[in-house]
C-alpha cells in the first residue's frame, strides 16, 4: 500500500488495538510506577473506541475523519495521553482536509502538525521525557524517508525504530511534566510510559505494512 485510505486507516487502527490489548498490562505496570496506572486501559479503550467509530462514520474526507476520530478519542479517554493522542488527530486533520487518500508527504505534514500540537498543548518539548520523545523522532524518520524517496512501508519501519530508540533515551531523562514529575530524580532509569505507548502505536502501524 502506498496510500492510506479510510479502509487502510481502519486496518491500521485495528492493528494498534491489537498491540494495545497485548501490551495493556505492561503499560499499566509502567504507568503505576510513576503515575496512576491507567495508561494501559486508556490506550486500549481509546483506540478500540476509535476503531469502532470509524465504521459509524459516513465521512470519506480524511481531514474530517481525523477530526471526528480525535474528538471521539478525547471523549472516551480524557486522560493526559488520551487527550494528547486526540490532539494529534485533531491537529493533523487540517492537513488531510479535502483528501480521500494520504501519501507519505501528507503523513509527514500531519505528523509535524501533531508534534507541534502536542508541544503547544503540553507546553513541552523534546527532552522533557514525554511521549514527544518517541513521537518527534518518529515524524523525523518519516520525513527523512520521504526525502530519501522511500516507500510508506520503509518509512513506517524507520519510524517504529525511531520510537524504540526514543523510548530508550527517555530512560536517561528526568520527568518534568505530568504525575511522573512529582518523582523528580527518581524518574531517571524508567522509560516514559507515554513514549512507550507511542512506540506501540507505531508498532501497530508498522504491522499494517508487513
Amino acid at each position: 500500500m502506498e496510500k492510506i485510505t479510510k479502509e487502510s486507516l481502519k486496518d491500521i487502527l485495528g492493528n494498534i488495538v491489537k498491540v494495545m490489548e497485548e501490551e495493556k498490562n505492561y503499560l499499566i505496570e509502567l504507568d503505576s510506577a510513576m503515575g496512576d496506572g491507567d495508561l494501559g486501559l486508556t490506550m486500549y479503550t481509546g483506540f478500540s473506541a476509535v476503531y469502532a467509530e470509524i465504521d459509524q462514520l459516513d465521512e470519506t474526507d480524511m481531514g474530517k475523519l481525523f477530526m471526528k476520530l480525535g474528538m471521539k478519542m478525547n471523549s472516551v479517554v480524557p486522560s493526559t495521553m488520551g487527550t494528547l493522542i486526540s490532539t494529534c488527530f485533531v491537529k493533523a486533520a487540517p492537513k488531510a482536509k479535502g483528501k480521500t487518500e494520504l501519501e507519505l508527504s501528507d503523513i509527514v505534514e500531519m505528523g509535524q502538525a501533531a508534534v507541534q500540537g502536542v508541544m503547544d498543548r503540553g507546553k513541552s518539548k523534546v527532552g522533557d521525557k514525554t511521549m514527544l520523545d518517541a513521537l518527534a523522532p518518529a515524524v523525523e524518520a518519516l520525513s527523512a524517508a520521504e526525502k530519501a524517496g522511500q516507500s510508506l512501508a520503509e518509512a513506517n519501519i524507520a519510524a517504529y525504530q525511531a520510537t524504540i530508540d526514543g523510548v530508550e533515551k527517555t530512560k536517561t531523562m528526568q520527568s518534568v511534566h505530568g504525575r511522573a514529575a512529582y518523582y523528580n530524580e527518581k524518574s531517571i532509569g524508567h522509560p516514559d510510559s507515554g513514549a512507550v505507548a507511542v512506540m506501540f502505536i507505531f508498532k501497530g502501524i508498522r504491522q499494517s505494512f508487513a
Partner: protein, 334 residues
C-alpha cells in the same frame, strides 16, 4: 475494597445521579450527561460564567461549588480522572451568558490538556475564555516554581472569591484578575494517614505503614515531602502551618481566611484539634483569623488526613470572601 457502592464502573455516574435527584432545584445536567452539570436557576445575562471541573472522588469538590456566588457549571470526570474537552465545551456553552467564561480549576495534567482543548473549541464559537489554575499545594513544588504546584483545598477560596466577584457583575478581566490574586494569596499543605481506593482500580492509591504519616502527600496519593512516624496533631499542625506561613510569607498584621479541611476519613473532632493549634500559632505570630472554614471541603474518598489552607486578605478579597453564597454543599449566610 470496603465500599458501599454498586458496580465500580458506575460509581461516578450513580453518584451524580444521586446528587441531581437530591438537589434538582440547584443542579441540572446538560443534555442528560452526568459529566456536565450547571446551576439549575436562570442564568443572569451579562454575568461572567465560571466553569470548573475535574475527576470524581473529591466531594464537595468540584460540583459542590456550583451555585449562587460560586461557579456556574462543572464538568465531572471519572474517579481521579479528567473529564473530556467535549464535555467541558458543553458546559461552557450552557453557562455562557454573554460575558465570557473563566475556567477555574486545579493544576493537574489531564485537566490542563482538556480545558485547553475546550478553550480552543470555545474560541471557534466566539466564547471568550480565560483560565486560572489553582496551585496552592506548597508541598508539590518548591518556592520559585509556584506555577508548577498542584491545586488542592485552596480551590474553595478561589470559587468563593471569584464567584462573589462574578455575582457582582464584574468583567471577565476583573473576575480573572481577582481569581488569580486569590490563588496567589493562597497556600495549602496537608498530611495523609491512609490511602484511598479508586473503585475501578480496587486497590489502595499508595501504601503506608500503620505507624506512619506523610506530610505533603497529594490528594491522589502523589508523593509528599516527608514520610515520618505518626506525630501528635500539635506537632503536625506546627510543621505544616510553619511551611505555609514561610512560603507566601504571611506576616504579623496580616488577616487571613483559614480552611482546616478533612480528606474524608478523618473525624471532625480531629479537625477541631487541628484548628485549636492553628489558632494558637497564628495568634502568636500576630496573624488575625478573619474567617474560618472547618470541615470536609475537598476530599479524596475515604483517605484519612487533613490540610490547612490560608488565604491572605486585603479589603477587596475580604469583601468577596464575606459575601453570601449557596450550593447544596456549601452555604454561607453570615
Amino acid at each position: 475494597m470496603k465500599k458501599l457502592i454498586n458496580k465500580p464502573e458506575d460509581f461516578a455516574r450513580e453518584t451524580v445521579e444521586g446528587i441531581v435527584l437530591a438537589h434538582p432545584e440547584s443542579l441540572k445536567m446538560v443534555n442528560g450527561s452526568f459529566h456536565c452539570l450547571v446551576r439549575a436557576d436562570e442564568k443572569k445575562a451579562g454575568k461572567v460564567a465560571i466553569a470548573t471541573g475535574g475527576g470524581s472522588g473529591h466531594l464537595p469538590v468540584f460540583l459542590g461549588y456550583v451555585g449562587y456566588g460560586l461557579a456556574d457549571g462543572v464538568t465531572v470526570g471519572n474517579v481521579f480522572a479528567s473529564p473530556s474537552a467535549e464535555a467541558m465545551h458543553e458546559v461552557d456553552k450552557a453557562i455562557h451568558a454573554g460575558a465570557g467564561v473563566l475556567h477555574l480549576y486545579g493544576r493537574y495534567g489531564g485537566d490542563i490538556m482538556n480545558f485547553g482543548m475546550a478553550a480552543d473549541l470555545a474560541e471557534m464559537e466566539d466564547i471568550e475564555v480565560t483560565e486560572v489554575l489553582v496551585t496552592d499545594d506548597v508541598a508539590s513544588a518548591p518556592k520559585g516554581k509556584e506555577d508548577k504546584r498542584r491545586g488542592v483545598a485552596g480551590l474553595v477560596f478561589a470559587y468563593k472569591v471569584a464567584g462573589a466577584a462574578a455575582e457582582k457583575m464584574l468583567s471577565l478581566a476583573e473576575v480573572t484578575r481577582i481569581a488569580q490574586k486569590t490563588v496567589d494569596h493562597t497556600r495549602t499543605m496537608g498530611v495523609a494517614l491512609t490511602p484511598c481506593i479508586v473503585p475501578e482500580a480496587g486497590k489502595a492509591t499508595f501504601s503506608i505503614q500503620e505507624d506512619e504519616m506523610e506530610i505533603g502527600m497529594g490528594i491522589h496519593g502523589e508523593p509528599g515531602i516527608n514520610r515520618t512516624k505518626l506525630q501528635s496533631i500539635d506537632d503536625v499542625v506546627t510543621e505544616i502551618l510553619n511551611k505555609i506561613i514561610e512560603d507566601l510569607p504571611y506576616t504579623s498584621g496580616d488577616e487571613v481566611a483559614i480552611l482546616v479541611n478533612g480528606l474524608g476519613g478523618t473525624p471532625k473532632e480531629e479537625l477541631y484539634l487541628a484548628y485549636r493549634k492553628a489558632q494558637q500559632i497564628l495568634t502568636e505570630k500576630g496573624i488575625k483569623i478573619h474567617r474560618k472554614y472547618i470541615g470536609e471541603y475537598a476530599t479524596s474518598l475515604e483517605m484519612a488526613g487533613m490540610s490547612i489552607s490560608l488565604l491572605k486578605l486585603d479589603n477587596e478579597l475580604k469583601e468577596l470572601v464575606d459575601a453570601p453564597c449557596y450550593s447544596p454543599f456549601f452555604e454561607q449566610t453570615r
